[in-house]
Each structure stands twice: as C-alpha cells, then as structure tokens.
Symmetry: D2
Subunit: 342 residues, 4 copies
C-alpha cells in the first residue's frame, strides 16, 4: 500500500507511520518529494490497516495496491470456473438462458411459461416465490406454495429452477426446491444471508447491487467463496444512474471487466437492466456479443396481467425471437446455446 | 393515476384500458389531444395495477399521482411524531446526539468513549457489535460480547444504546440490550429483517440506503409502520454519487424534504455522510441548521487504532467542539440539546 | 399536461389554475379524487408554462405529457434519417467506423494512423486539432496546423475527416477542413456553439454529455435541427456514474432507446465509453449487436507515446481485429461495413 | 506518481517503465512485492505522462500523487482570497447575498425585484440576459436589452450586477455591464469561454458543473487563474444524482471540502440546488452553517408568471425571511451580512 503524507507533515509524523508499518511487518520505502513524502509499504495486509493508517496524524490518504478480493480474482484461478447446475454447465462454451416470470402467480401461469421457454431454448426457469417489493402493499409472492409449483414445473419440463432467497429463515426450504439460489440486488450486501446460503452447497446466482461497484460485487462473491462454495454465477442487472428513461442502466462494460478480473461466469439480465420490453432483445444481443455466459429474461404469458414487472416481460413469442437472435450472435463468437437434451 | 397512450394507439387499445380501469373500480376521464390520448383514473389502488397497465397494448406510460406510502406521510399524520427512547424524546424541540465508535472493540475503548460522549452532551451511545463489512476479511464485530459491553456502558453512564441488527436470527438477542435497533444502509431494503425487527416493539433507527430515493426510504419505513410499530427514526447518511473525494454525498436536501413529506423524526450522520473527519463538524452544523432532529457521530478515543472507520471518527475533544458549535446553531432555531438529567 | 394539486388545495386555487390554463388556450379536464384534484390540459404549449404553473399557489407538480423535442422525434419523421458524408451514408444498412488518434500530434503519427485505419476498414478519420482538456496544463492540440494535417490525410487516403469544434471563433476554420463537425460531451449544452455550427451546413456528430439524459441529448440535437440542419449524427460515449473502474459507463440501453425515439443515426464510442483498451473490442461488438449505426474508435500507432488518451487507444493491429469481429456481428443483423470504394 | 505493474509484468517491461521515467527526469524507487512491482516516481510532471505511462506494456495503473491544480490550491496560497466586487469583499468575514430573478423579463419585473432584494439585504443583483435553456423553444433571454435593464437597476439601487455569459462573441458586451461574470454549470468546461472571459479582468462567478468532481471544478478555476485573473468566486449549485424529487442534490460536503482545498471564496445556490422553493430557506441556513461565503438566491415578484425557474423562486417577502434566518446563523459563526452602505 502507498501512504501519502500531507504537504506539511512533520518528520515526527512520518516516522510514526514508518514505525507502525514496520511493527506490523511491512517492508517500507520512503520517497521524499519536494511537496510530499510518500511511503510505500510491502506486505500482505487487509484494508483494516488501511483505515487505521489514514487516521494517523499527518497522513493525507492511503492507496491500496492489491485487490481486496482473493478467491474471486483471476489471479487466484486463471481458468474460467464452470458452475454445474444439474447437467448444465454455466461458464463454458455454451450460453444458458434462464427465463420465466418475475413472480410465480399461479399453476397455470407458471406451467404455461415453463413449457414455452423450454421449447424456445431455455434450460432454466426463473420465478420468485418470495418477492422483495419496494412497497409493503405490493404482491409479496406465493411463498411455500410457489416453491411447490416450481418443483412441479421442473418435473414437467426438465428445466432447472432458479429462485430468490430473501429471508434467512426460509433459506433451507428454498434450497430444497431450487437448483440455483438467487440473491437479488437489494440483498447483495446482506452478508448474513450470503453466509447462510453459502453453506447450503447449492449454486448461487449473485446479482449486482443497484449501486455496487465492481469491487464490492466481487467482495460479495468472496463472502460465498470464503465459505468454501465456489459455485457462484454473477449477474449484471443494471445500475442506478441519473437516467430515468430506463429503469436501470445495464452496465455491459462492467460485465466485460468482471469477466477479465474474475474467473466466475457472468450473466446479463436485460429485463431488469432496462425495464422496458422493447429494449430487451437488442440488449440481450449486445450482452452475448460482449461475452456474457448467458441471460436472465422475464417472460410472462400475459404481461398485462402480471402481478409484477409486466412492462419488462416478454410474451412467449417475443422470447422465441430473442433466443433466435441471440443464438446468431453467439455463433459468431464460437459459442452455442446450451439445451435440455431431447 | 394517469395513463398516457402511445401516439398511434388504436381506438381498440384505448377502450381496452378504459374497460380494465372501470372493471377494477376506477372512475375514468378521457382526454383526447391531437397527438395522444390521456386517461385519468380516480380510485384507491396500489402500484400493482400501475405495472400491469403499462404492459397493456397501446400504453406508453402510467404516471401515479398518489404517493405510494400512506402511514409515513404527513398527510396521514400532520403533527410531528415523537419517538420516546427511555426518557429521551426524539423529534421534539430538543435535538439528540448519538455518538460512539463504529464498532465495539474492547471494554476499555467502549467505556472511555461512553464517558467522554456523555460528558460532552450525547444522550445515546452508538457502537456496532455485529458489523456488516464490505470484505469478509475485515473485522466483523465482537458479536454477543459486544452486546454485553454495550449493556455495561449503559449501566455506567445512563446513555441509551443504539446498535445495528444485521441478522434476523440475532435480532432478539440484540433487542434484549439495545434501546434503539439500527438498520444500516445496506439493509434498508432487507424486508425480511425490517419485518422481523418491527415486531420486537423497540424504536428503530432506519438509515437511508446508499442509493435509495426518498420514496424508497419512506416505503422502507412503511414496512415497519405497517407492522404497527410507529417508533421509527430516519437517518440521512449520505448517498452514492460520482464524487469520490467524499465517501458519500450527505444529502441535506433530502433531509429537509423528508421532514416535509413525513411526520417521522430525521437525524443526520455526517460521519458516514462525508467519510472525512475534517468535514464532520461543518456538516453537523449544517444538518442542524437544515432542521435535523439530531445527529449520529462516530467518536473514537484513538482513531488511528480503530478497527473500522478511523478516518471519519472524531477524538473526544473534537466531539466536544462539535457539540458546542451545534448547540449554538440549534439555539438560533429555538431548539436546545437533549441531555441526560444530572 | 397534467397539473396535480396539493392535498389541501383550496377551491380558489384550483379555479385559479383552470382560469389560467383556459386563458392560455388549453382545453381543461378536472378530476376530483378523494385526496387530490388533478387537472388535465390539452393544447400545444412549451415547458415554459409548465414551470410557471408549478409556481402557482396550491399546485404540487406539473407533469408534461408530450415530448419536448419535436424535429428529433420519430413521430415527426418515422423513417431513419441518413446523413451523407461525402459518398458515405450514415444511418443506412451499412455501418461506418470512424477511427484515429485522440489528438493530431504530428504528420507522421496522423498519416501512419490514417493509412492503417483505412486499410482495416474505416471510412472516416477522427483526430482533434483543438482539444478540450480538463487541465489547462495538458496538451491543447496543434490548432490550425492540426487542421492542415487532417486535410493532407484526407487527400492521401480518401478518409472523410471528423474533428471537434470547441471554440465559436474557430468554427469556420474547422468547417473548411472537416467533413463532419464534432461537438464533444463537455459542449453538448453549449448552445451558442450548437447554433454557430448548425449554420455552417456540415454534418454534425453530437456526443452525449457526461450526465445528459436522453431527453436533454435529443433537445441539444433539436437546437441544430431547428436551425434547418438535419445532418445530425448522435454518438453515445458513456455517462458518469458511481463506478470508477471504467472511465465512463457506456450506456447501450440509451443507444437503443434513442434509435427508437428518434430518426437520427446513432454511433457508439467504446473508447471513451470505457477508458480501457482491453474493454474496447467486446463493447464495440456489443454496440453493433445493439443496433449502433457505426463506431468511433481511438487508434494510435504508439499509445504509450500518445499525448492524450493512451490507455484507451488501440494499436493498428488491434483495430484490425476489432473491425473483423464487428463485421461478423453486423452480418447477423443483415448489415455490412461501409467502405471506401477501391 | 506511483506506477503499479500488472501481476505478471516481465522484467523487461518493468525496466522499460523505469528507463522512460528516468529519461523524463524522474527519480525512481522500485518496490517489488510478492504479487506486484510498484514504481514510485518523484518529479514535477503533468498528467500527460500519466496517461502515456498507463499505455505502456505491463502497466496496470498509474496513481498521481500531486493535485493537478496548482494556483487554485491552498498549498499555493494559504490565506483566503478576497474578491473585490466594487466596494464589496467576497470571501472575508462578511457574507454576501446575490439575489434576483432567473431571467430579466421586463423593466418592471427587474426593478421591483432589485428594490426588494436590496431592502432585504442583498448586495448584488442576479438576472440572466442570455439564458442557456435545455430546449430551443424556451425563452432565451432579452439579450442586449436585458443588459441595459441590469445597468439601470444598478444605477437605481447600488446593487452590483451578476449576469451570465454564454457566448464568446457576446462576452465583451456583457462585461461592459456586469460587475461579476457568471459561468453557468453547463459551461463549466467550456474552456474557450473560460479563457475568453478570464482576460476581461472582471470577477468571475464559476458554478460547479452538473456532474463535475471537485477536482474538475478546481481545474476549471485554474483555467481562469492561469490567465492571471485571480478574481474567481466558486458556487456550489447542486449535482446530478439518482434522486429526482429534488432538481439537483446540493452538495454541501463539496462546499466545505473546497473551502479546505482552495483559497477561493465559495457560495451556495440553494435555488438551483434543490429546485423547490419550500427547500430553499432551510438549505440556505445549512449552507451558511457549513461555512459558505454567501448565497445566490432566485427571487421573483410573481413566481407564477416567471418565464423560467418559477418553482424555485422566492417571493420578496420569503426572501426577507431567508435573510433574517441566515443572518442569525452567520452570527453564531462570527460572521455578519455584507450590506450596501446607506
């Protein structure tokens, strides 16, 4: 790490920082410029010391050099991680599409959607049984009954089930049904929940928080990896910016950056990423062109009756077009669509 | 609500929206402009219909007119809510200062800080026993032992205890010690946690999320109010913006707006709001001048040894100055400092 | 427009708004809800009245219904606008790539780059002669000498010249050389400059401002269109967000949205959009997959010697790969690369 | 500056960077960590090299240590700069209030406002003759006629005139009337305009750009200072964030930070900073409490007839209250209100 001293730092203050660094086992280099003294410190330390040093008298700022995440870093594991979800391999040459309604609303709605997305080419079914809603007065999901319907949909179609965990006390119940446990944006830094689900041994789909930096996102993944669960799939779903025409700003630069910084697979969710169904297909193409390992797409048989996220949900026939277009792009990159074996 | 039809919407689509609105009990007004038809709908409905309507063919957008929060709105309760914390009244003419370390680190650190802030004029002691940290490798708090030390500090000083709940399964344990349960920024939309603590009956300090709009913040409060717990104290602690010189951007406009929109008391946290101790005192003055009902301030006897948030922590003597300056501002507004009775 | 009255608005206030609207020629619809009265006003008016109305007693907010831009809207002109730059047609089935150095630095640097990008498939050469730099101490461009070198490069290669105008008093001099006048992000709302260059009759490349909404961007285009110059090419170049790993956040959702809202061609600039050369190629692919009409790419023969933007500049061989990859994506969408006729 | 090499950087690449730094006159320190080599370079250089170095093979990032602005820094000039506007001294112990309408609309409107704000305690009159408007269809100001009215208002009241320059070709005409030349947010990085007006020798009021960092703001000031004009007054007027309830987010943390980083006086504009008149007075108090050297306030005799910014304009009687409240706060900080000598 680099410690930049204030312009007028006294010799005593400089020596204080040096002494402390050496006491904590760092090798220290001192560079005295005309205006400022800069102290380089070599050693393997966490951010903790970073903040404490910054509070020492005479210190202007401390600049960390090493990335704070370890297990999530490509430097730790150079080859791509492939997360196995049943027979499906996420992060390999095949792209995978997870599709389905925002929320499980009824048996009919779920099964109709499941059959449609399976036929179009999805390998996994999304659908919330427990919904985190901005307003307490909005539909909160079918809870346990929703889980049962998801299990039934899997049995009927062979689709793997991706569903969100929002409550520590329900995590086990969800894990009994889900093939992939989803952590939503609002819970990306709900560390208690991350630790709880990490231990359940299932693959985790970790969505980027609404205003999470790339570093914070990878540190959230690190919470799961540090529990010994390496089955983490990341998902870029749009960040909050000043632009209000779109619900969020799908950050494909971050998707590409994370593919370079980390070995973990990364999906894109253009449904939440834009909030408008007329933008979903072009952005789905763009995400695959950027190198996404797959997509998360909201599909509803009748978006105008959806209990949530209607405006961003595709109808089955629109989803069918999406898959077709996306497969064309994937081929250019030498990738193909992962499918359920017939 | 107002439904704006697309420029080329067909008569059939317009009638479809009208029929649906009428079916759901709305009174409908149709305005046909040269370019667009606009449908006004009067009735008491939630956002649910909003999204579903937006997904109907021919609809460009739906504009809600009513605020989505009810119990948190000043229209529901015109007079200020006063939250009683033991003998202290938050939200009344007295301002209250909650001070203490970011994390409880040791008996000595906590008690030394507690005595110092009490003497300076604080009525409540803050200190985290369970710390939500961005990195899994950072100090995570003393947990149950931290709670015990907080209880001891209260006994010694008479300060009320404000401490964070991060984990649903620990909520009851925290509530046995805490006088005020704090919900941190990262958990503002952890709705499972909000519901869990709402039922414990204790006052709740609800910090604004890092990128939460005013409306989302008040809806998070609504989750607690809707469980019958009206003892909610809001706290503005800075939002995430493009500016990186400060850790966050303390949004005092939001503080003033929320005081107007809601009846709930609102505090400011200039420590997290700026991340730099040299900015804390001027922003504390500003917050009180803007009309804050109190402050949340990080104080540490030796910030350079703090296990977290050292750079934004005041030393006891700096906190002493802060209180003095803040009291001067409060007087101009006809307010005084709430104190522990001698 | 819709005027939402405050919850407690008096009848007198409501009638005041109605009277004013009627006086200004609006047809008025009154909707009295339980909580609020809402006034719908039909008529063709500018935002001016919007703000004045909002300042009337009893008014809570005014919601405009019509888009404030007219000439830039697809509703005004449903078919795509094709901007002719010499023999090249931007906005048609062919995509066009504008490439070159950030700044013109020397004859050798410019000609070497020009030949390389022409060979790789670019049809236009970018290069700044007047550079808007954040610091007054940074290289400000070769000015008139840079313009001469650009003219020479065109003569040698047949590439059209795209260069930035930063100064009203230099606009004519630039227009004598440039085939396309670029307005940079920082000047997107420099309305005096927009009006000045609009009248010069040349095609204009209008970059989106760092923090401009889609609406503000199209209104900036409207300034040029309103002067009778319809040769406007838009360019998405990344917006400012909280994320600092990338220089900007390339907003491809906005690119797709603008293609739908407007008839104007839209390019993407992944060089400024990301600030990191290792992100440029994947994002260039993504932009074309999203539907961009072309790209703006920084290329430098020796990025490590570049006087500006080295870290985001591709070497000629990297640019060659970019074109190849991008052409593959374009084909899937039924588009081909515009080229200089041999 | 600090050069951080990539994890796998080769010795040849490290030596390449060292050789280049030494060639450019830097003293070099090499720190070899287990994972990364870090190169410290001491010498007085601009950012130019920063970018070029970052493009060298093997370099991960370059971290500048010195602030890029020189003349604007408090390190260059430790004592506060006092800008003299006629007999008024901005930046000293007295606070100054600049008030008036957004735009000059008519003789009657301007003179009525001028008399009212003078009486209430303002020393300077604001009012735009040339208005930068988001839409080309909005009122663009009275131009030269507006300037004449401003001159008349000064003659009648003794108020100094603060008015915006938006066009290089009109700068001299504006300077013949104005006592202070205002650069608006949208033009903060219109460097051609900054250079043009710097040379006119008048005091400059430099508003912070909508999404300008503190560093960019001070570098914009540096453009003026570097031309030899040290009469620069900064003005915080709100930044663009995700929050839409307020028009902008008034960033008082930045105001305090800039007072510490620079010697230049800093004002606050809570009218633009919030966009809502009911927020203006509390935020005006807060700004003064934070240490602002004065305020910029929009006042209009009939906000509901204002041709721009009605919703954020105070009526004269409201402005009168504002001054009274603000004076109370100023006293606590040992400051008083600058006034026109009777």
């Amino acid at each position: 790490m680099i410690v930049v001293m204030q312009a007028g730092a006294e010799e005593k203050e400089i020596q204080g920082v040096v002494a402390r660094l050496e006491k904590e086992g760092f090798k220290v280099h001192l560079s005295r410029g005309t205006l400022r003294t800069v102290i380089g410190a070599i050693g393997d330390k966490t951010r903790l010391e970073h903040q404490a040093l910054e509070a020492m008298p005479g210190v202007e700022k401390v600049i960390p050099i090493l990335k704070p995440y370890k297990l999530a870093a490509r430097e730790f594991k150079p080859e791509n991680t492939i997360v196995e979800v049943g027979k499906f391999k996420v992060g390999g040459p095949e792209i995978h599409i997870i599709a389905g309604p925002c929320a499980v609303e009824s048996r009919e709605q779920l099964l109709e959607t499941a059959h449609a997305v399976r036929e179009a080419g999805a390998t996994m079914l999304r659908g919330g049984a427990f919904k985190p809603r901005t307003s307490p007065y909005s539909f909160q999901g079918l809870a346990e009954r929703g889980l049962k319907l998801l299990a039934e949909a899997r049995e009927e179609t062979g689709l793997a089930i991706v569903t969100e965990v929002t409550d520590q006390t329900k995590a086990e119940a969800v894990a009994q049904v889900a093939d992939v446990l989803q952590i939503g944006s609002r819970n990306m830094q709900n560390f208690a929940l991350l630790k709880t689900i990490a231990c359940l041994g299932k693959p985790v789909l970790l969505k980027r928080g609404l205003s999470a930096t790339i570093e914070e996102w990878l540190l959230a993944a690190e919470y799961i990896l540090a529990e010994g669960n390496f089955k983490v799939i990341l998902c870029e779903r749009g960040i909050r910016t000043f632009e209000t025409y779109t619900r969020n700003t799908l950050d494909l630069s971050a998707l590409v950056a994370v593919k370079q910084l980390s070995h973990l697979p990364v999906l894109a969710d253009p449904s939440h990423g834009t909030g408008k169904k007329e933008l979903v297909i072009p952005l789905a193409r763009a995400a695959i062109a950027a190198g996404a390992d797959g997509l998360l797409i909201e599909v509803h048989p009748k978006p105008e009756n959806a209990l949530s996220d209607g405006p961003q949900s595709l109808r089955p026939e629109e989803f069918f077009s999406l898959v077709k277009e996306v497969v064309g792009i994937a081929k250019v990159l030498g990738r193909s669509l992962g499918r359920i074996p017939a």
